[in-house]
C-alpha cells in the first residue's frame, strides 16, 4: 500500500488567525495527507487509463 503521509503540502491554505502555531502546523500536516490522497487518486486514474488502452489494443 502506498504511504499517504508523504504528500507535498498544499500551499497557501491556513486556519483562521486564532489558531496557534501548533494547530497551524497540525493543519499543514493534514493538508499533506490530502495532497497524498489526491496524488494517489491521480496515480490510480493513470493506471486505469493504461489498463483501458491495453484492453482496447487487445
Amino acid at each position: 500500500m502506498a504511504d499517504v503521509t508523504s504528500g507535498e503540502p498544499l500551499a497557501g491554505h491556513r486556519l483562521p488567525e486564532q489558531a496557534d502555531a501548533q494547530e497551524q502546523a497540525e493543519f499543514q500536516r493534514g493538508l499533506a495527507v490530502i495532497a497524498a490522497l489526491l496524488a494517489a487518486q491521480r496515480h490510480q486514474a493513470h493506471a486505469s487509463l493504461q489498463c483501458h488502452a491495453l484492453a482496447e489494443d487487445a
Binding site: V4, T5, E26
Partner: protein, 458 residues
Amino acid sequence: MSAPSIAALQQAYRSGERRIADEVAQTLARIEASQAALSAYISWDAPAALAQAQAQDALLRRDPAALGPLHGVTVSVKDNIDVAGMVTTACSHSQDGAGAARCDAPTVARLRAAGAIILGKVNCHEYAFGGPAFDLPAPPASNPWKPAYFPGGSSSGSGVSVAARLCQASLGTDTAGSIRLPATHCGLVGLKPTYGALGLGGVRMLSLSLDHVGPLARDVDDCERIYQALCAPPAPAAAAPRGRAWRLAVPQPGWGLEDLLRPEVAGMFTAVQAQLAAAGVTLVPVALPALQALHVASALIMMAEVAYVFGPAVRADFDRYGRVFRSRALVGERIPAHSYLQAGQDRLQLTQALMAALGDVDALLLPGAASVAGPLAQVDTFYFLKEANLNAIANLTGQPALALPTALSADGLPMGIQLLGHHHQESRLLALGRALEALLAFGHRCPPSGFTPTPASE
C-alpha cells in the same frame, strides 16, 4: 456477567415478574453512578422516563396483550439526533445556548411508537467527527471494559451506554464506521443498514452521501428488534439458507490485511475463520477491489463533503469548535471539485466490482477494527486518513454491515468482526449474524464494572 435480552425482559414484564418502572429506576441509578467514570450521557430525563415506565406498567396490568414490540425497552440516542424536548448538542460548543428540539427525528419517533423509553442523549465526537477530544462540552466517553480506554467512535456514548447496561440499546450514526467501531470496542452488535434504508431526518448532517443511522445492542436478536421498529414497514424476517451452509467471502492474501491488522487482531481473525470453517461455514477467498483505491475514494468524498457542510460555519465561528474538529472540517476545502467527482465515479466502479466479487456469498467477512482499543488520549488529528479504514468500505458502497463481538484481548478488551452484506438484505445479514453469534459464543458478557451490580437471570 450476563444482561437480559429484550425478549427476556418483556416476558418478565408480561408475567408480572418484573415492573418496567423498577427496571428504569435501576437503569437511571446506574447512569448517575457511572457518569463520572464513563461520561456516557450528555443529558437524560429521569422524570419523563419514569412516568412513561409507570404508564406502561399500568397499561400492561389492564391488558397484557397490549405489549408493543419495544414496550419497556430503554434506548439512548446519540446526541447528533433530535429528541423532542432535549437539546441536540452534537457535543459541540457551537450549540451552546441552543434550544430543545421541537420534535423527534423520525427514527426516534418510530422507536417511541413501538413502545421504547427514550432515556436521554449520549456522548459522541463533535458532530460525529472531531474526537476523542478534551475541549468539548463533555469529556470523552470511557470504555467500560477498561476505564480510560477508547470505546470507539464517533457513537462513543452509544457503545458505552449499552455495554455498561445504562440502556438496553442505542441509536447511533455511522459515516465511516461510527456504529461498528464502538460496537467492536465495547463487545456489542452494531448494524449500519443499507444507505437510504433509514431516513436521516433530524440527524445533524456530516457527509451527505456517507451518513447512516442504525442500532447498537447487546446481541443480534435485540439489534434486529430495534431495526425492525426503525423500518416502516418492518423488513421481512429471513431464515437460515436452506439446503446449504452459510458462505462467506474473505479477502485473498495480498489484499492488504497483512499490513493493516495489529498482531492480536490478526490472530483473532485467523482463529475466527478456523472456528467458522470447522463449524461448516464455507469460506470463499475473493479478489476484492484494491484496498488503497477504496480508501482514497472514501477519504476524499468524506473530507470534501464535511468541508462543504461545515467549512463556512467553522471559519465564521472558529473558536466555538474543538481543535480536532475544526482542522478536520477545513482541510477538505482543498479537494478540487474534479477530484471529488472523480472519487464519486470511482465509487460506482469500486462498488460494482466489490459486489461482483461477492457474487452469491452471503457476506464479506472482515475484522471489526484493525487494532484493539487503546488508551484515551489526545489523538493524531488525521490518523484516520493515513491508513485504510475497513469500516469505511460499507459506507462507500452503501451495503449493510453488521459488527459482531468475537473474543477478548489479553488486556480484556473486546475484539470483533464485521459482515458486509448485499444491498437491502438486512434480514439475511441479521440471520447470518445470529448463526455466527451462536457459533462464536461471545454471548451476553458484560464488562466487569461496578455499574452492573445485579447479574440478571434470563
